[in-house]
């Protein structure tokens, strides 16, 4: 991580045993990792920001690795993913967009070439701002049981000149998924959609 200054990592793992219905045989788990980094472009307009995208690649790999570890160390259990960014108020939304490439590709690589686009959300926010990270199936975006979202926020971040970069992975469907649609068993096209 050549020029990336990480102030803090936060890792959250949620294990869902039930939501009022029958307890899950294997409780689905959802994990999020967030890194609070300094925003080198805060406070001024910088036209060429592309260099940071490459600089963020090692951080993407590090965070994806932390997520798999938080889920027990086997990338094979991961079925859903998502990503996001909260940019501190002295930055702009476009700075958060730099995370699409390094965050997304790090997870797809670690998960053995996952095919679906990684859904994402981004916003500008202050300390304690929360963001809902959208989640879809790693190989087929239309798998309805895996549409989900995870809320994350950090009490003391982002400061004005910081960004919170976020990756998320899940091990299964919503705990009582029952609204039909494409099932994961029926994924076939290999186009990342169905």
């Amino acid at each position: 991580m050549a020029d990336i200054k990480v102030r803090k990592f936060v890792t959250v793992v949620e294990e869902i045993l039930h939501e009022g219905g029958p307890p899950a045989a294997v409780p689905p788990r959802r994990a999020v990792v967030a890194a609070v980094i300094e925003n080198p472009f805060a406070g001024r307009y910088v036209d060429d920001i592309m260099g940071l995208m490459d600089d963020l690649k090692p951080l993407g790999i590090e965070m994806a690795t932390r997520l798999v570890k938080a889920l027990g160390g086997d990338a094979g259990v991961v079925e859903g993913y998502g990503k996001g960014a909260i940019v501190g108020e002295a930055g702009e939304l476009e700075h958060g967009a730099l995370w699409h490439n390094p965050g997304g590709y790090a997870m797809r690589e670690l998960l053995g070439g996952a095919k679906a686009i990684v859904p994402s959300a981004k916003k500008v926010g202050g300390l304690g701002a929360k963001i809902d990270i959208p989640i879809t199936h790693i190989n087929a975006s239309y798998v309805r049981s895996h549409f989900d979202a995870i809320e994350i926020g950090i009490g003391d971040a982002p400061r004005r000149d910081e960004m919170v970069l976020i990756l998320a992975m899940t091990t299964g469907a919503r705990v009582h998924a029952r609204v039909g649609g494409l099932k994961k068993e029926d994924i076939k096209a290999g186009d990342g959609l169905r």
């Binding site: 200054k5 990480v6 102030r7 803090k8 990592f9 936060v10 890792t11 959250v12 793992v13 949620e14 294990e15 869902i16 045993l17 039930h18 939501e19 009022g20 938080a70 304690g128 929360k130 995870i150 809320e151 926020g153 009490g155």
Partner: protein, 194 residues
Amino acid sequence: MSVRIRKIVTILEETLIEEGRPVSPPTRRAAAVAVIENPLAGRYVEDLSELFAAGEELGGLLGERARAALDIPGPSVESFGKAAAVGADGGLEHAAALLHPKLGAPLRALLGKGAALIPSSKKRAGPGATFDIPLGHKDAARVRSHFDGMEVSIADAPRADEIAIAVALTDSGRPHPRVGGLRKADVKGEDGLV
């Protein structure tokens, strides 16, 4: 488990930079939070022993989850704390029943020691409420470098008939402590204060 658990959330926070200065090694704190059904919600019940028993089981379970998140042996834990957020239809005394009579013994067994009072807080709150878990040194409450707190929240809990109960553990005090007081190197660890 004598009460029904809906979900368990584990949060690990690692601080690498504070006030612009590196923290080496990074300070780490972990919280484990269980969302349980409140069997006494919505009515006044004199005898709270059902929740005493649940507190005992949760002290062991949540302590172990938080320790595992830190990935250190129990005796290496430096500070601890506990807290509960009771849903709208519950009483503060329900939180007290979980936290105070029996939660501490299994937690201290896990840590090998822990002569100090376990600092605690409680509140009534809705889903997504943040609550702060106070932290103090596990063997000597007067270790000033370890007075701290950790904020947690769960987006969908506590519902009106639920309680979110948390145990937090650390491997360290605040990142750059410099307000004096009893140092951890000077702890006697017998009466829980010094």
